[in-house]
């Protein structure tokens, strides 16, 4: 339709982070076995924030299977925020929206602490709030393999202070 032209410019501006699905940089680790990835994650304390009960089970089992210490899972932002000061966190797996609440406060907390985090959502990264768009992102639905791969990449990423860049 003609008015799509109206929007076109705007949209193009918005989608500079063009990878629409999947995990950033999944091509870099193509062919690597899930097990070997899991090994490298062993012993890590991973904060899991997710409000879907069924998914929590899966995340819990998967991460435990990979030898991680699962912190959480938390299904509510206030619970997670409340827990933060007292826990050790090496990396975090965050659902962006928890019953309508954005995880932004948690993100800034983690950024401050220099903890790498992987955001998950069924939305496209381009649809996310601007502040979160450059973060590492895993789009739902993902499999066990996708999850471990994402976390592994995240782990190998040098941690900037303040601004975690996408790959």
């Amino acid at each position: 339709m003609w008015w799509s032209r109206l929007k076109a410019g705007k949209r193009r501006q918005m989608t500079h982070n063009a990878n629409e699905s999947g995990v950033h940089g999944d091509t870099a680790l193509a062919g690597a076995a899930v097990e070997s990835l899991a090994d490298s994650l062993a012993g890590r304390h991973v904060l899991v924030v997710e409000d879907n009960g069924l998914l929590c089970g899966m995340l819990d089992e998967t991460l435990r299977g990979a030898g991680c210490h699962v912190v959480g899972p938390y299904s509510r932002l206030d619970q997670a925020m409340a827990a933060m000061p007292a826990i050790r966190v090496d990396m975090a797996l965050l659902d962006i929206s928890l019953r309508g609440e954005l995880v932004c406060p948690l993100v800034s907390e983690l950024t401050q602490r220099g903890v790498p985090f992987l955001l998950t959502s069924a939305y496209q990264s381009s649809e996310l709030p601007r502040a979160l768009q450059s973060a590492a992102f895993l789009r739902k639905p993902f499999t066990e393999g996708d999850l471990l791969e994402g976390l592994t990449v995240l782990m190998k990423q040098p941690v900037d202070d303040g601004s975690p860049g996408g790959i």
Partner: protein, 1073 residues
């Protein structure tokens, strides 16, 4: 079909054989089939069928006709000789004509496709076969054949048209056109045409024998006798004398009537004519057939236009009149043609004289047609399109002459032969009338034309007519085109003896002339000598005499009448009584009166005429000259009785004769007489004055009358003008009304339309705009006429003047989306060239269509799609999660399938419940029934009890799975594993320890197998716990009581319960992940 093929039945020569041309068009096949089916075998004629055929189309007509007749049916071939009882059919892409007794076929291609093949064939058939031609017009559309029929009729052939009966012609217009021309002899239903043709052929053959073998004188005499008989009957019935018509022409016409009537002999026909008045009329009509046409013979009329018409207008002022006479005008074509020629020349003149065209004919019905001035289109084919446009008014199938032409022509009934001619004509056009007259009649008519024409006037005759027998009267201008000019009478001496003024004797037969006749030249010379002699005797030896009319006006004086007459003072007079000398007047007056009254010769002896001082005694004789019905004249002869005498002698003479004693009385009487005479003279003077006054009055009256007539005419004209004006006015008023309405419609449209529109002229000045524009341009009413570039607008990023210029230059539409500066309102702007009704560019039109709602709807749609996408992905994630966990806990694929599919179905059921009402919130009871339904029957195995509590969509989904897990567990290990087992589910809202509202659901199993706590937590209960914990932020308490499992679910009400089933709650719900 070659000529040498022996004819089966008849072997007549072409002269004796009828050739029947049959014309048909649309619907003709049916008519032709009927015609030939009903055709007797022994007609003995040759038939030629001409139909309208599409180009390049093979016709099957030959085969079709062959099925309906025993005669030979063939395609017409060029050069074929016509044979009796054969039917020839016109093939396609050809034109058929006749040459002698042979057919001529000319191939034509599609471009030259002939539209009137019937006319063409009939015309040549008429020319070649004359009386033997028969033209039959059958069903067809159009007017083809009418002109052909005219030709056949004019040549003496028979014409037949298909008429109505129980079988109508399928298409009537072709026969109807022929019938309307008045030239069709017989109108017959198609089935009867054959029989009629046979009868006609028989009588035709019989007549051919009669008239063909005219060598025997007796026969010839018989015929002449019969013709005289017929002429006499005609004279009696219709008052027209045909005796001097060309015998052959006359006979031909009579013959045809005989054939039509099927009367074998002339005497029989004469007999019939005497008895049948209608037949006399028909024959009369046939005899008068004039084949005239507009611009018939174009070259001749061209000659008239060049050689005659300009001379007619030479040296003529506006007050002069150009007079033209068209005798024998028939239905007016010739007269109108000449009028058109005159008008064409008049349009080139600066000073236009008045023009009168007198068109006369004895046929009153023809004149009626002429006065109408309406002609079928086929008769106008010689008229050029320019003339048709200028002088005619086109109607669907005919043309009507303009008033301009009709006003010029005056049609009146008049016989050239019988009635006095017109006079002082400039031009006489008489085409194809003289051919119907014999030599004697022609010799009479040409002098009439000579008389009618002015000196140097023109005569225009038909191609086969000439003035050669009267070449002394007319000089030749154009011999070929028969244009002649009147010669003046050259020999002055001859005037007396060679007066060319014809006189007409009323009731007489024809015309006699003084001094001319059919006598031989010698006889003429003797007569002339005798006349001279008699004139001399009259002059010298006869007594003086005069001729007067009954009123006493002198019409002729002899020599030496001065002795008796004396001119009076005052204006000259021819009145004899005023001129008579004293003494004569009284006697003359009484004698004349007596003569007028008694029509007898009156003689008065011894009348005394006073000659100055003497008296002449005379004998006065008055003799009436009675000449038929004309006004009688009176010859007055003065015969002197001795020489003049003195008064005394006269008195003496009187006194002597009777005796002296009466002298005194005589004297007295004379004096008295003189007094009486004086009185009478006075009386007569007074009478004369009265007469002249009367005449004046009469003339004044006449003038008044004519003025009155003129006024009447003017009034009528004014009235008609007035009517026209009021009609025009009415039309105008209705148009204005319409205009008002359209204007009101438009302004209402402008007011109501939401489409902002600005009208600009070519210089981008604002001409008009709709109110909706004010949201975009800051326009006020006073801005009309200002350039659009001066007006501030609310549009973002646009070069409006450049766009408008582009539209004006390139004349194409520009269309672009625009946004108002506030960023919220979107418009679709279109700039179009504005064209007036002549399709000329007059400016531009800018329209703005508000598309904000469309843009918003599009955005909304995009959001919805994104949301849907999101939900689907979330759900898939759940499925993956479930699959993952179920897989890890399954011993075998069979177990996995069972438990995974069960959970999928539980999810599906929960979704179905949600989606059934468009992702709305769900009552607890419904959720329970939906999930428990597959496992048990409500009321028998489980019961539900609780208030009407409505769950949010997401919590319903989570809770649905929990209930499924509980039900699965009950089926495997609990109450539903035994028939006696029961489950009671109930729910409520309550306050917890902190006083927060909680939703509580109680699952109580009973009647099942004995329950004991399982060794380890199964995935089912793990799932229940997790759902409760993570999804609903609640908790599940499971008591493995021996009587049955008791589960209590406690969830903060804020997480699950919708407080009010409102739109707001739903919207909140949708926003949640």
């Amino acid at each position: 079909m070659s000529a040498d093929q022996p004819s089966v039945v008849h072997s007549e020569t072409a002269a004796g054989m009828l050739i029947v041309g049959i014309g048909a068009s649309a619907g003709g096949v049916e008519a032709l089939s009927q015609l030939f089916s009903a055709m007797p075998r022994d007609v003995g004629a040759s038939f030629v069928v001409v139909t309208h055929l599409a180009p390049h189309r093979e016709t099957l007509l030959t085969e079709i006709l062959a099925r309906h007749t025993s005669m030979q049916v063939r395609d017409a071939i060029d050069g074929a000789t016509l044979i009796a009882n054969h039917i020839y059919v016109l093939p396609s892409d050809a034109v058929l004509t006749m040459s002698g007794n042979r057919l001529q076929l000319r191939a034509v291609d599609a471009e030259q496709h002939e539209r009137n093949p019937i006319d063409i064939f009939f015309a040549s058939l008429a020319a070649e076969a004359c009386e033997s031609a028969v033209g039959v017009i059958l069903s067809g559309s159009g007017t083809d054949g009418t002109l052909g029929i005219r030709g056949i009729k004019a040549r003496g052939g028979l014409t037949i048209a298909q008429g109505h009966n129980h079988s109508h012609p399928r298409h009537e217009s072709m026969p109807a056109s022929a019938i309307a021309s008045g030239l069709v002899d017989l109108v017959l239903p198609v089935e009867q045409i054959g029989a009629k043709l046979r009868d006609y052929a028989r009588s035709f053959a019989a007549l051919t024998h009669v008239t063909g073998g005219t060598s025997q004188p007796r026969r010839q005499e018989d015929i002449s006798e019969a013709i005289r008989d017929i002429c006499a009957t005609l004279r009696k019935r219709v008052g027209h004398d045909f005796e001097r018509y060309k015998e052959k022409t006359f006979l031909r016409r009579v013959q045809r009537r005989m054939q039509v009537m099927q009367i074998g002999t002339l005497p029989q026909y004469a007999q019939r004519l005497r008895q049948d008045g209608a037949e006399a009329g028909t024959l009369f009509g046939d005899l008068l057939i004039g084949v005239t046409n507009f611009f018939r013979d174009a070259e001749a009329f061209q000659a008239v236009a060049e050689k005659v018409v300009p001379h007619l207008f030479e040296n003529r002022g506006a007050a002069d009149v150009v007079r033209v006479w068209v005798p024998g005008c028939s239905t007016g074509e010739e007269a109108y043609t000449i009028a058109i020629l005159l008008l064409e020349h008049m349009s080139t003149l600066q000073v236009v004289p008045r023009v009168q065209v007198f068109a006369t004919d004895i046929d009153e019905s023809a004149l009626t047609i002429a006065r109408l001035g309406r002609y079928p289109a086929p008769l106008l084919e010689n008229v050029s399109p320019q003339r048709l446009r200028r002088f005619f008014h086109a109607e669907p199938s005919s043309y009507v002459l303009n008033k301009e032409v009709r006003d010029l022509c005056t049609f009146s009934a008049h016989s050239v032969i019988r009635d006095p001619p017109f006079s002082r004509m400039d031009f006489v056009s008489c085409r194809n009338l003289l051919i119907y007259f014999n030599n004697e009649l022609q010799d009479n008519v040409l002098p009439i034309f000579h008389y009618a024409l002015k000196d140097g006037g023109f005569l225009f005759l038909g191609p086969s007519e000439s003035v050669s027998r009267n070449s002394d009267l007319f000089g030749v201008i154009d011999k070929k085109q028969r244009v002649f000019q009147r010669r003046p009478i050259m020999n002055a001496n001859a005037m007396n003896t060679n007066i060319r003024v014809p006189t007409w004797v009323a009731g007489g037969r024809g015309m006699t002339q003084f001094g001319t006749g059919s006598d031989a030249a010698g006889v003429r010379k003797d007569q002339r000598f005798r006349q001279q002699l008699e004139a001399r005797v009259l002059d010298n030896f006869a007594p003086p005499h005069i001729v007067v009319d009954s009123a006493g006006d002198v019409v002729y004086y002899s020599a030496r009448t001065g002795k008796y007459l004396e001119p009076q003072t005052g204006s000259p007079s021819r009145q004899i009584l005023s001129m008579a000398r004293r003494g004569l007047r009284l006697e003359l007056s009484s004698a004349l009166r007596e003569a007028v009254e008694k029509h007898q010769t009156i003689v008065r002896e011894r009348v005394e005429v006073n000659l100055d001082d003497r008296i002449q005694i005379i004998r006065l004789t008055i003799e009436p000259i009675l000449d038929g019905d004309r006004e009688p004249l009176f010859l007055i002869v003065f015969a002197d009785l001795g020489p003049p005498v003195t008064r005394e002698e006269a008195a003496q003479h009187v006194a002597f004769s009777p005796g002296g004693d009466v002298a005194t009385l005589e004297q007295e009487l004379r004096e008295t007489r003189e007094r009486l005479q004086a009185t009478v003279e006075e009386y007569e003077t007074a009478l004369e004055e009265l007469k002249s006054s009367n005449e004046e009055l009469v003339s004044v009256n006449e003038e008044l009358q004519s003025t009155n007539e003129e006024l009447e005419t003017s009034r009528e004209e004014l009235q008609s003008t007035n009517e026209e004006l009021s009609t025009v006015n009415q039309e105008l008023a209705s148009k204005i009304e319409e205009l008002h309405r359209s204007n009101a419609d438009l302004s209402n449209l402008f007011e109501s339309t939401q489409i902002a529109t600005v009208f600009l002229d070519r210089s981008m000045l604002i001409r008009s705009y709709t109110p909706a524009v004010t949201g975009i341009f800051n326009l006020i009413a006073a801005d009309r006429g200002r350039p659009i570039t001066d007006i501030a607008h609310q549009l973002e990023d646009i070069d409006l003047p450049a766009d408008i210029r582009q539209v004006l230059d390139e004349r194409r539409i520009i269309e672009r989306p625009v946004r108002l500066r506030n960023g919220k309102v979107f418009h679709l702007m279109r700039i179009l060239p504005y064209r007036n009704s002549d399709n000329e560019l007059e400016g531009a039109l800018i329209t703005f269509v508000n598309v904000t709602a469309v843009v918003a709807a599009e955005e909304q749609q995009r959001l919805l799609v994104a949301e849907l996408n999101h939900r689907v992905r979330n759900m898939l994630q759940v499925v993956i999660g479930l699959a993952h966990q179920t897989l890890h806990r399954s011993e075998s694929l069979g177990v996995f399938e069972k438990s995974f599919m069960g959970r999928m179905q539980a999810l599906a059921r929960a979704y179905e419940l949600l989606s059934r009402d468009g992702w709305r919130n769900v009552p607890v009871s419904e959720l329970l029934r939906s999930q428990l339904g597959p496992f048990a029957v409500e009321g028998q195995r489980y019961t539900c009890a609780g208030g009407h509590i409505v769950l949010t969509a997401n919590s319903a989904l989570a809770l649905g799975l929990v209930i499924y897990e509980l039900a699965t567990n009950a089926t495997k290990y609990g109450a539903l594993s035994m028939p006696s087992g029961r489950i009671n589910v109930s729910w409520e809202q309550a306050r917890d320890e902190q006083g927060k509202r909680e939703f509580l659901l109680y699952w109580r199993e009973s009647g099942g197998p004995a329950v004991k706590r399982p060794a380890r937590q199964g995935f089912g209960s793990e799932l229940v716990q997790r759902q409760l914990h993570y999804e609903l932020n609640g908790r599940a308490t499971m008591d493995f009581m021996p009587a049955g499992l008791a589960v209590t679910l406690a969830i903060p009400a804020e997480n699950v319960v919708v407080e009010a089933q409102s739109g707001q709650a739903q919207a909140n719900d949708a926003q949640r992940e």
